[in-house]
């Protein structure tokens, strides 16, 4: 019994010693954090990179864009991440935080586009929506249907009430929670645009930006919009179980589940590879990765990882990322971005 | 202290051994009244092993033992009797400081083992308990082998130098406890597998394996059947040759059978002490008489 206790005590001390000695160690793998939308693409590149080169496979954490950039900007030491994935462009405030913590040189690489789709089960009718319809169906307050500029609590119960051409189905939309980048993008690209269809609100934009945002971006809370969690697979499953509802999620999930769900067209454009790539489909956004230049050469393989990400076999129309659902940038743009990435051209702070 | 007259009478009992004559006188004497709570009889002996003076025990606010003074003589069996809750077990447990384990318990007064005050701050309870062994009400062998049960004490106190000596001590203790013949062929079996009487004798063997000077027994037979009880009683009589024994018992016949002196406790008071024969034939205190005649208890 005493021996047992003794050996346990020894083991405990050993672990303690190991813990303290390890803290000082360097790192021989790339550390990537950030957006869950970029995660499937960046992991695919990482895996390819790990197998094709002598470097270790990078470690990729799915933290969400904001959380990722916060970690990325927390300092310039090797214990901070080397690369941040983002489903939106870095904000000015974030660059300032970065600079305050000693991260002054950041390389921005636009890796492609992602489309956000609205889809429903194949069992029911396909929708032809406009952004105005979506604003009217989902905003918390809309201009009164009786006319006039007065805003009233959203009275619409069915799609038909919103727009005569739409089916008489009950409004029920499953979407991600506000913490999600997909939700941010949806609100910015659909709701903001949709509400400018009303002259009175459009006028508000130049007068009172804050008020404008509050009106356009506040989603109704009376059960018509259901926050279904960050897991896009879950939303797809729920659509199957409930054919009357629409779901909001990333294009890659539509691509994988085309036998079960159908996308609604928005402003006359159906979301396809082509319409998103050439910008016709209105709800698409660019995806970025941000690289800490100070770490290039310190952590092995960063330049090579960038080269893999920006290689034609990865991010072109024929590349393996397209197979994962990434919408490639146009060819000319790719060329410029790849060259910039190779030269490690940093973001100029006054660009914003 | 006890009244002078009684002391003189009892001293004569002890010293002159004129028991019959004195008993005849005593029967006619008036009993000490029920409300009188000073000790009747002579609590002291000529050759004491343990000396207790004005011992008080408190459990928190409760005064459990009230000013008890008594001696335990060399190689005698002292029986402590009394109704439930009279404090006899509490007092017994003061003798090897087992009460220390009860957080709220406080002991005042003096208890001397030979010349040593066992409640002195400098006294270590570990060697004390090696000198004053204890056997409990319910047989409580360790869940280990019979051998290990007996060998445990000598091992932790370093009483033996090698395996042979240890074997001798175990064999000797088991023989003294009268258990050797029954278990010599299965020393490696668990002690908990023995019958109740055997378990209690195993516990006695465990206590005497550390060669204590005094053995305290807290109702050692209360969980045993009559046959096992008889065996243990015989054992106690034999052990008296080598050890001083203090036994708490509910069973007055048992006290009469095994002890030389008997102390009667009542609600925390030591009411009467005397030679066992005299206590049972001619109690001087009314409470003692009530108890041994079965008026309460």
């Amino acid at each position: 019994m005493q021996k047992f206790a003794l050996s346990l005590a020894t083991a405990t001390m050993l672990i303690g010693a190991a813990a303290t000695s390890m803290a000082a160690d360097g790192r021989d793998y790339i550390s990537v954090v950030g957006s869950s939308t970029v995660y499937p693409f960046s992991t695919a590149v990482a895996e390819q990179f790990g197998k094709a080169t002598k470097f270790k496979t990078p470690k990729i954490e799915s933290t969400g864009t904001g959380g990722g950039i916060k970690l990325f900007c927390s300092g310039s030491g090797v214990d901070t991440p080397d690369i941040a994935n983002a489903s939106r462009q870095i904000k000015k405030a974030e660059i300032e935080t970065c600079a305050k913590n000693g991260v002054t040189e950041i390389v921005e690489v636009k890796v492609g586009y992602d489309g956000i789709v609205l889809a429903n089960s194949k069992k029911s009718e396909q929708f032809k929506l406009s952004r105005k319809d979506l604003f009217m169906a989902l905003a918390k307050e809309v201009p009164s249907p009786e006319g006039g500029d007065k805003l009233v609590a959203n009275p619409y119960k069915t799609w038909k009430e919103v727009n005569d051409k739409l089916p008489a189905a009950k409004i029920e939309v499953l979407g991600p929670p506000p913490t999600s980048g997909t939700r941010d993008a949806f609100v910015e690209m659909v709701m903001d645009h949709g509400c400018t269809a009303f002259e009175s609100i459009k006028a508000l934009k130049s007068k009172d930006e804050k008020q404008f945002k509050a009106v356009c971006q506040t989603v109704r809370e009376d059960g018509a919009f259901i926050e279904a969690g960050e897991n896009d697979n879950l939303i797809v499953q729920k659509l199957e179980a409930n054919p009357n509802s629409l779901g909001i999620f990333g294009f890659s999930f539509l691509d994988q589940n085309a036998d079960k769900i159908q996308a609604s067209s928005i402003d006359g454009q159906a979301p396809t590879f082509e319409t998103i790539a050439d910008g016709k489909y209105p709800v698409s956004r660019p995806l970025f990765i941000y690289v800490k230049k100070a770490h290039v050469g310190v952590i092995p393989g960063i330049a090579e990882y960038l080269a893999e990400f920006t290689s034609e076999r990865a991010w072109s129309e024929e590349g393996y990322l397209a197979e994962k659902g990434l919408i490639p940038s146009p060819k000319n743009e790719r060329k410029t971005i790849a060259a910039d990435a190779k030269a490690l051209n940093v973001i100029v702070n006054n660009k914003f | 202290m006890a009244p002078a007259m009684d002391t003189i009478l009892d001293m004569r009992d002890v010293i002159m051994g004129k028991d019959e004559a004195e008993a005849a006188v005593a029967t006619k004497a008036r009993k000490v009244d029920r409300d009188q709570r000073t000790t009747v009889g002579v609590p002291f002996v000529e050759e004491p092993r343990m000396i207790c003076r004005e011992v008080n025990v408190f459990y928190g606010d409760k005064h459990a033992i009230n000013n008890v003074s008594i001696d335990v003589g060399k190689n005698e069996v002292l029986a402590m009797i009394g109704p439930s809750g009279c404090g006899k077990s509490t007092f017994l447990r003061c003798l090897n400081r087992m009460n220390d384990t009860v957080a709220s318990c406080r002991v005042t007064g003096e208890i001397l083992l030979d010349a040593l005050n066992i409640y002195d701050k400098k006294v270590d309870v570990v060697p004390l308990r090696a000198q004053v062994g204890m056997v409990f009400q319910k047989p409580n062998p360790f869940p280990k082998s019979i051998f290990d049960n007996v060998a445990y004490g000598p091992k932790i106190h370093g009483l033996v130098n090698n395996k042979t000596e240890l074997n001798d001590v175990v064999e000797d203790s088991l023989k003294k406890a009268g258990l050797w013949n029954e278990v010599s062929d299965r020393l490696d079996q668990p002690g908990t597998g023995l019958s109740g009487g055997q378990q209690q004798r195993l516990c006695i063997a465990r206590a005497i394996a550390v060669r204590p000077e005094v053995i305290l027994m807290d109702e050692p037979c209360s969980a045993l059947d009559p046959i096992a009880t008889a065996t243990v009683e015989d054992l106690i009589t034999e052990l008296k040759e080598h050890y001083t024994i203090v036994i708490v018992t509910h069973n007055m016949q048992q006290a009469a059978r095994v002890s030389q002196r008997t102390a009667y406790f009542h609600l925390g008071d030591l009411v009467e002490v005397g030679p066992t024969d005299r206590i049972f034939t001619n109690p001087r205190h009314q409470l003692t008489e009530d108890y041994i005649t079965g008026r309460f208890g």
Partner: protein, 424 residues
């Protein structure tokens, strides 16, 4: 009069008796229905997971006759040779009638990218094979796998499934030629994570779980037992120890994410330990498991009968001897049960690991406590969120493995309790 009185008493008793028994029957009925309901839900859960997941243990493989072309391979370039080209050539050789470049590209995609690595392993271990033609089973692409397993239906319009009619007919050809079969999915047990479902395995996550739990056990058990022994045996009973006891009970009920935040602040930001390492995961889970172990250990110390304590003290054992020779061995089975249940809870934790970077894509199987690692439940979480349909069955399969591990741990707890529990 007295007779009448007696009869009426008996009558009254028997009237009440019926009600009393009815009450008892009703209670039993409630109990049984509660148990039946929970068993039903359990069965439903297990059945749905098994039904979804069992197919993941088999993987579609294709038999290719690969010509190990000496022009492509020689002993010096084994690490960098173009194995993918060899695989593609071998696949094309199966369909000699196909002409168009487009079709050739699609045929190449029937085979997993993992085929090239399998070929590389073969050639690296047996370089003498170069120049010969070898029949070799290679994994098929995940979409072929899904199609063969029936997860991609044939009866929907072609445009709506990821396997075209042409691909389907080729797959049928391969099946007819006995060149396409479902084989035991070794990659699932031997590989780390991957973005290609057919190459993804749970070994990395399992190793991460193992390292993490090892740290948790080594730290939380001795510390927990020591704390319990001190509190139960040595500490004075006063307001401070009461406060500590209340706090320990509170800690046991705190949501685990809070421990993750604590770990982030203390181990990563203050002590500068590496992110995503199983060491830190173990430390965080230790914090989470400690209260459970302390509570279980104290309960089992309390359950040691006082007679044993008295026996040891009575022979003259010191307090420490009494505890280490008698109390601890008797309390040990209970403590171990508590520890295993705590470990099982730690095995299933995801939330606290999120904060310390263990929710990450990690391909390499971790080899030490400081390597970046993830754990089984996190792997399940990551796969469940992946768009590829083949990850659905792998998610369920990983859940089955996790449940088996949990079952094994709980069985071990029961076994230990029965084996070492002593009677007195």
């Amino acid at each position: 009069m007295s007779e009448n009185h007696q009869i009426s008493t008996m009558d009254r008793v028997s009237v009440g008796l019926a009600a009393r028994y009815r009450k008892e029957r009703r209670f039993r009925l409630f109990g049984i229905s509660a148990i039946v309901a929970s068993l039903l839900f359990l069965a439903l859960l297990l059945a749905s997971i098994t039904a979804k997941g069992y197919t993941a243990f088999r993987q579609t493989e294709v038999l290719l006759d690969v010509y190990l072309d000496p022009a492509v391979l020689d002993v010096h370039n084994l690490a960098t040779a173009n194995y993918a080209a060899l695989v593609r050539d071998a696949a094309l050789a199966l369909f000699s009638q196909v002409e168009s470049r487009q079709d050739k590209r699609i045929i190449g995609k029937l085979i997993s990218t993992g085929a090239a690595y399998r070929l590389q392993d073969l050639v690296t271990s047996k370089p003498e094979l170069i120049g010969s033609t070898r029949p070799i089973w290679v994994p098929a692409d995940d979409e072929v796998d899904m199609f063969v397993k029936g997860h991609i239906p044939r009866d929907v319009p072609e445009a709506e499934r990821r396997v075209s009619d042409k691909q389907a007919s080729w797959i049928d050809q391969l099946v007819a030629a006995d060149r396409l079969k479902l084989k035991f999915n070794t990659a699932f047990f031997q590989a780390g994570d991957s973005r290609e479902p057919e190459l993804a395995g749970i070994r990395g996550a399992a190793a991460g779980s193992m390292f993490t739990l090892a740290i948790t056990l080594l730290l939380s058990f001795p510390v927990g037992v020591a704390a319990a022994v001190y509190l139960e045996e040595f500490a004075p009973k006063n307001r401070w120890t009461d406060l500590i006891e209340v706090n320990i009970n509170n800690l046991a009920a705190i949501p685990s994410i809070v421990f993750g935040l604590l770990g982030l602040a203390v181990f990563l930001n203050f002590m500068n330990l590496p992110r995503s390492a199983s060491l830190v995961g173990g430390l965080v889970l230790t914090l989470m498991t400690l209260p459970t172990i302390i509570i279980a250990s104290r309960a089992s110390l309390k359950s040691v009968p006082p007679s044993i304590r008295e026996a040891a003290l009575g022979v003259g054992a010191s307090k420490m001897q009494t505890i280490s020779h008698h109390i601890l061995p008797l309390a040990m089975p209970g403590m171990m049960t508590g520890a295993i249940i705590g470990m099982a809870r730690a095995l299933g934790e995801t939330a606290p690991l999120l904060m310390i970077g263990m929710v990450a894509f990690i391909v390499d199987v971790p080899n030490s406590f400081s390597d970046p690692a993830t754990v089984l439940p996190v792997q399940i979480f990551l796969w469940a969120d992946s768009p590829e349909r083949a990850f659905v069955e792998r998610t369920s399969a990983a859940i089955m493995i996790l449940l088996l591990l949990l079952l094994a741990m709980n069985a071990a707890a029961v076994f230990l309790r029965n084996k070492f529990e002593r009677r007195w």
